[in-house]
């Protein structure tokens, strides 16, 4: 019946007399599905913003992250996320993210796109050359075995395992100017 599409008719005829349930459902709302419905899997994660360490559930469908929500299991956060944590989906899948390596040559006025392997090779060459050119065995007669020609800043947003490899490689290279936000 065409008339039954009218919410008021359904409200008067049906059991939902207060109009807060079935009576007011539209075809549109009836076909709504939760964003996380149909997710292939839920992956346990941790919010990447501040150091409270709220739990996150990451919902994946067709190898794409489709939603990130607070993890109710976490004794830290009990399912809550702040505005930043709630924006994690935009952080991880938003249009502002870059997926290409960019290169700016000396005195150039713009970027050019570079392939990843070439760029990695260029960085390795520059590290080796700068290290060699600025190497010091001694300073004021004391052994230092290092280069002051290379520095690094960053780590507080990264994983422990990443910081570990950074410190290990830099130290083996003799790079001592290794720093992160903890100094700042």
């Amino acid at each position: 019946m065409q008339m039954d599409r009218w919410p008021v008719v359904r409200q008067l005829r049906g059991e939902d007399r207060t109009g807060r349930g079935a009576a007011v459902k539209s075809q549109g709302s009836a076909t709504l599905r939760p964003r996380i419905g149909g997710a292939d899997r839920v992956v346990k994660s941790i919010c990447p913003y501040c150091a409270v360490g709220c739990g996150q559930n990451v919902f994946v469908r067709d190898e794409k992250v489709v939603q990130i929500e607070g993890d109710p299991d976490s004794p830290v956060s009990r399912g809550r996320l702040c505005p930043k944590g709630s924006a994690s989906l935009q952080l991880t899948t938003g249009s502002a993210r870059r997926y290409e390596v960019l290169y700016r040559a000396p005195r150039a006025t713009d970027w050019t796109v570079l392939d990843l392997d070439t760029a990695m090779d260029m960085v390795a060459d520059r590290v080796i050359a700068t290290r060699r050119a600025t190497w010091a065995w001694e300073e004021e007669g004391k052994r230092v075995r290092r280069t002051m020609g290379i520095a690094s800043l960053g780590g507080a947003t990264l994983d422990n395992e990443e910081n570990y490899l950074m410190k290990k490689l830099y130290t083996a290279l003799g790079v001592v100017q290794v720093e992160n936000q903890a100094r700042i």
Partner: protein, 901 residues
Amino acid sequence: MAECHPVGFQWVMEAKARGATVIHVDPRFTRTSALADLHVPLRAGTDIAFLGGIVNYVLEHERYFREYVVAYTNGPTIIKEDYRDTEDLDGLFSGFDPDERTYDFHSWEYEGAELSPSAGERDEAYEDKVGGGPAGGGPAGDGPAGDGPGGGGPAGGGPGEGDVGVPVDRSRRVVESSRGQAHGSGGAAAAPNPERDETMEHPRCAFQILKRHFARYTPEMVEEVCGVPRELFVKVCETLAANSGRERTSAFCYAVGWTQHTVGVQYIRTAAILQLLLGNIGRPGGGILALRGHASIQGSTDIPTLFNLLPGYIPMPHAHMDEDLDSFVAGTATEKGYWGDMRSYMVSLLKAWWGPAATEESEYCFDYLPRLTGDHGTYQTVQAQLRGECKGYFLAGENPAVGSANGRMQRLGMAKLDWLVVRDFSLIESATWWKDGPEIETGELRTEEIDTEVLFFPAAAHTEKNGSFTNTQRMLQWHHAAIEPPGDARSELWFYYHLGRIIREKLAGSADEMDRPVLDLTWDYPTEGRIGEPTAEAVLAEINGWDGDGEPLGSYEQLNEDGSTACGCWIYCGVYAGGVNQAAQRRPGREQSWVASGWGWAWPANRRILYNRASADPEGKPWSERKALVWWDEASGVWTGHDTPDFAASKSPWHRPPRGARAAEALSGVDPFVMQDDGKAWLFAPAGLADGPLPAHYEPQDSPVANLLYGQQRNPVRRTVADRHNLYHPDPSAAGSSVFPYVLTTYRLTEHHTAGGMSRWQPYLAELQPEMFCEVSPELAAERGLEHLGWATIVTARNAIEARVLVTERVTPLRVQGRTIHQIGLPYHWGPNGYVRGDAANDLASLALDPNVHIQEAKAFTGDIRPGRRPRGPAKAELVEQYVRRAGVDLETGTGVLDGR
């Protein structure tokens, strides 16, 4: 806390609902203030005066927890006769060297006990212990050998301890490098057997010195210095004191509002002294809690991407004549406590890094470590860049063009580099300054003349990689990769692993000795997936460590000094116990006790509250049933409780170490502070600090008022940077000081993240906080003709920025020394890129550094504010120049040592 750690703040609100009183001390009124019982606005940069005032109140009114203080702190310990306090020297401590701008700490030491600091730069007394005479020697003096709980424990001199009387070379600068990470675990070292007076009546005991030192921090003084009315201040004191002791505990939460000062470390020290006096350390509901702003900033301090540390707070070695592993250990280890096992930690680390090459014959490749010769912190790096000495720079998830103090120096420094690698999600300001930075606009830099090569690498998100974050309570939590990173986006794990692999391939076959550490490095991690991602759990397994059979270790107590164990970070040992990733534990909180030990893994040994032996009395009984955490179970002869006891499991409260015991064995049953060389918490720091054994209030580098407490205006050993881009403001007594009359302070907002790299590119967050603004009071707006929602220009001797004006009573003018002090609040999230843009507040700040940790003073400085937008192009630099001229500022301004006298 409600602003910057909102989800953590839910627990404060839970406590409030159960009757807790919430006090918020902050120059501005925030979401935290709105929910607090008491909001106390104070002048930025005066927290030592404020906290010192509470210390004085607690001492004067005898509100301290006497049994706790006597048993667990160095309050009873006698200090050397030649110690002179700020009370004697009008704001200086004994040992000051005005030429070197350093202190010699030797007069601060315990009576009859030689010291070597162990927080941060722990070889402060290297010459005493190594260079000053042969290692070994007699005990440093016997303290009272108590025979019951509460007494001191006997301990003989151990190997490596130098004689007290050996003449030492004191010409070396005491301040060599960062002496302590404010959030680290570093204990400091004292000889294990100092003289104590358990009555705390001895005039030279730390407790009595403390009393005299803080006696001038009266409520009246607090009112005049901080601008906090004395009635309000006394209410804070009374509330805190009433809520501490046997039955109750109070906690302090802080963030960089306490650290970014030229006296930042001493801020935390003052809070530590207060919390120890009140018995609020090592107990549930107590503590001094650093609320850290990045997901794993704690982890990046524990496994440090920091110049002065190796993993687990092992100090990076300093350059000394003929230094070897033995002398390094002798110079940095403590006699007593867990730092006594320094050699085991160090050798195990070297084994993890250099594997088969690390043998006894090769001294475990100790010589492969580069050495420090001073401060090599990030603000030294920027100066080295400007001098052309530092030529290559990696940025990994950090945006110094916006986030570091004096952003202009950062950008000018990068313009001098040969090459710059930026790894981030989007094109942050630190990646694009060469084409659209503020200095391009003013004409100071021209794109076509900048030689720096820039390589931008897109970073993988947390959802695209496996790994662990260490949160602000030392808890490691594993996040699992949901998908592989798209395009050329890669994790840092991928980037650094493959960079190392390529470098090693290119150097293969090199016979150059400088390449040996690279070629001998253990660097054979398994990789997986389409992109060859290193297996993060394999790296975690190395961090955890293994024994000679390759079996994962379960505890740092298993580490050996003979090369039979490897461990990448000793304090994380146990995170992979049994070959199981403990950081990935996820037993739901509702299925556990309030301690929730089954979720994640907290270092060390999954302890959730550090030093929790102090939650029980000397006999091992909880101070009160309400506040029970761990206790001694006499029947079974072990420590037990809700949390993992932070104490040797079977060491009874009555245990007294035998003579000659060393390291952890030398700790008695009443030494809860197991990292300290005397097992006690330090009210008075006899070593380890660059700027004094006790906190003293000094005015910030840029301040509108004179120091009322002492003749000494500023921290005499603060680090200043003489550079034409880094001019300081005149002394308050100088004629030009009125040119910069207002106090500036920077802060964060809920909707943005630090320098904005993870929030200004997110549409939701950009919309929620769309524009840079400054907060001013209605009174200041009237004084300077500022209109709500209009524009203002804020000027310092470093730079000028513009911001929208928010006229609000959230900022309160304060009465200080008979005059009105206006404060201006500046969020620092914005820069020229992203969806929402604005000038960077950090461009206004100077490099004036804490002498212990070399952090910048960004939370209290001065400036001027005027209506209207800032000038464009070269006219901006001219405006700043006008101010500099009017104020009579030059390179010398504000750099005096004994200033204010």
